[in-house]
Symmetry: C2
Subunit: 359 residues, 2 copies
């Protein structure tokens, strides 16, 4: 009977630049996963991003929010265009989405897959497998501050970073559960020797929550030191929990180490059921290579796998990751834009592996 | 006549851990430079740091400030000890020194020297030669903020980052002069798409000062993107100017790329003559290897060269850098703690090269 089919309502935001290309490849993989694993994805295409904004003047609207809320998750391509000033889409759409749907956790695995070229000399996959858990709704991203005497020699700009116990505790608890499942250390990354108010809140929250996870070892590393250690000894880390702004910074470094933005995936997770979670590759819209069919869709495909894992389709998620990893390992070491593969071809290959039941 | 001898009054703060060891080596190099280049360094040893604090309870005192002010520059080893809580020495001494002497600029070259092992695969010295100019007195380091409902589920921590046009302009102007001298691009590193108040002040100051340096190309890179580019394409950067906290983070990444904390040097520059500048290696007190004579003194020696350049002894500064680079290139690729060299030996070799007029 049809009631036996698991249905997931997914909103798809292709966005700009290479966003539509990598989403196309991901949807091909998703379709293969549906047929193999017996669930159904009901897709709603949503127009949003730089081109949509230029055409309509619309960013985040109440109607869009209501429409997205009807979905179980959001697959997100990328947003941005050189003609839209920095900050417009970021603050006007992305931060609004994170806030409206209380996507409290930004989850970013930093995993070096076999065969992927990393800039780090001699780094091997066994030494690079960590997850960065970034707080996603507070900190410097609250966008509070003021400037007095703006435009004069006496200008003073005050920028505030606001953290609440609620916001910190939910992400810290999530990170502890993840560290427990992974059997690894939880590392708090902050700058508590300088940022006393925020640092005290973060450290005391970690200390308190730690009591509920007696088997999880806890560590602390200053954010500057972490940027020294991450490229040299990533094996030092398993689960890293950190502030919104520090997380933004160190996850890009993580993406560099794991072989580039093309393979890095991420999830923006709602934890309380009040709205859908959102899944996206870490790369941006990359207008310089858009439209050529050269973009690496692996980050988007792995984000789709994270989405399915989140929706309970763990077998499908695992199979997609395995297939993507298999395809990645086959790519020539010199593969890059225009060199040896196309976006669509990679999507097809991964989909084909799923359908054929290998690897 | 003795009036022909240039005299520089240097305060020497050895501090803790490996601080005294690397300073010893630096002073041997300094003595050789004095005899070769015909200047005199009058040294005043100052006791300060973790051990001094534990013994006396003293951190930054008015008497110490008055004493240091009588000097032309400060050579600084390192401070810190596991038994002193994080933040005590940082805020109680280092930030006080930066503030009291208005050390407005924190200057950190990121230069890969020949023969030095970098974690970055295939990176060559010609591709890695940039300078990070970090604002050193403002931003999140002002230490302002408050917490309401501390210790309760309703705790809210507010941490402020404060930048003034004066503070930003002086460091931006310094960076433009440096970029002009180096014939390179000035890159502003910030997160202006999110931190609107601070970002607007930084960008508008760069725009304004840029008019006075029409030959210097200007670029802008978000701090997260910079952490992606720095390990992969450091050749993209020549002079980077940035906020205090971003500077703290990206300079540690820079140190990783240039082959470790052992070779990274820095200057905390006063620009208006109101107090001495301070010179230190980027590494900390490294209590785990202290007392063995294993520490790499090159960072401290190169900081001493920066000190001499600042005092007008440009020939001596250049000769020390050349000698240090020569010795670095001779070190076995596997050199590390306890492997093939001692701190004192390296100091002696560099001093010997200076005295013998080679390289
Ligand atoms: C696009 C922007 C708002 C965003 C951020 O700063 O969080 C991006 O850099 C990211 O890391 O997701
Ligand atoms: C010791 C500490 C105050 C300092 C800083 O945060 O500035 C250090 O990390 C540095 O980079 O000089």
């Amino acid at each position: 009977t049809s009631s036996a089919v698991r249905v997931h309502r997914l909103a798809v935001i292709r966005g700009d630049g290479i966003g539509p290309e990598v989403i196309d490849a991901s949807l091909e993989v998703l379709a293969a996963a549906e047929s193999v694993f017996g669930f159904r994805a009901e897709l709603t295409e949503i127009s949003a991003g730089a081109r949509h904004y230029l055409a309509t003047g619309e960013l985040w609207t109440p109607a869009l929010q209501a429409q997205l809320r009807e979905h179980d998750a959001i697959l997100f391509g990328a947003m941005g265009d050189p003609v839209v000033a920095p900050g417009i889409l970021e603050r006007g759409f992305i931060l609004e989405m994170r806030r409206s749907f209380q996507q409290a956790v930004n989850l970013r695995p930093v995993k070096l897959y076999p065969g992927v070229t990393t800039p780090i000399d001699g780094l091997t996959p066994d030494r690079c497998d960590l997850v960065i858990v970034r707080e996603n709704t507070e900190g410097a991203y609250v966008g509070r501050g003021s400037t007095v005497h703006a435009g004069t020699p006496h200008a003073v700009a005050v920028q505030e970073s606001v953290n609440t116990r609620m916001g910190v505790e939910r992400v810290v608890e999530f990170a502890f559960r993840l560290a427990e499942r992974r059997g690894g250390t939880l590392t708090l990354c902050h700058k508590k020797n300088i940022l006393v108010e925020a640092g005290t809140l973060w450290q005391s929250t970690v200390d308190d929550v730690s009591a509920r996870f007696p088997t999880v070892p806890v560590d602390y590393v200053h954010v500057d030191a972490l940027c020294f250690y991450l490229p040299t000894t990533p094996e030092r880390f398993n689960v890293v929990v950190t502030d919104n702004l520090f997380g933004d910074i160190i996850t890009d470094l993580g993406a560099a180490i794991q072989g580039g933005l093309g393979v890095a995936a991420s999830a923006n997770l709602n934890l309380d059921g009040s709205g859908p979670s959102m899944f996206e590759a870490i790369h941006g819209s990359a207008p310089d290579i858009a439209g050529r069919g050269w973009a690496n869709p692996i980050g988007a495909v792995l984000s789709t796998a994270m989405c399915l894992a989140h929706l309970g389709e763990t077998d499908a998620a695992r199979a997609i990751e395995a297939a993507a990893v298999h395809v990645l390992a086959q790519l020539p070491a010199t593969a890059g834009p225009g060199m040896g593969f196309s976006t669509a071809q990679l999507g097809r290959e991964i989909a084909g592996l799923l359908t054929s039941g290998a690897p």
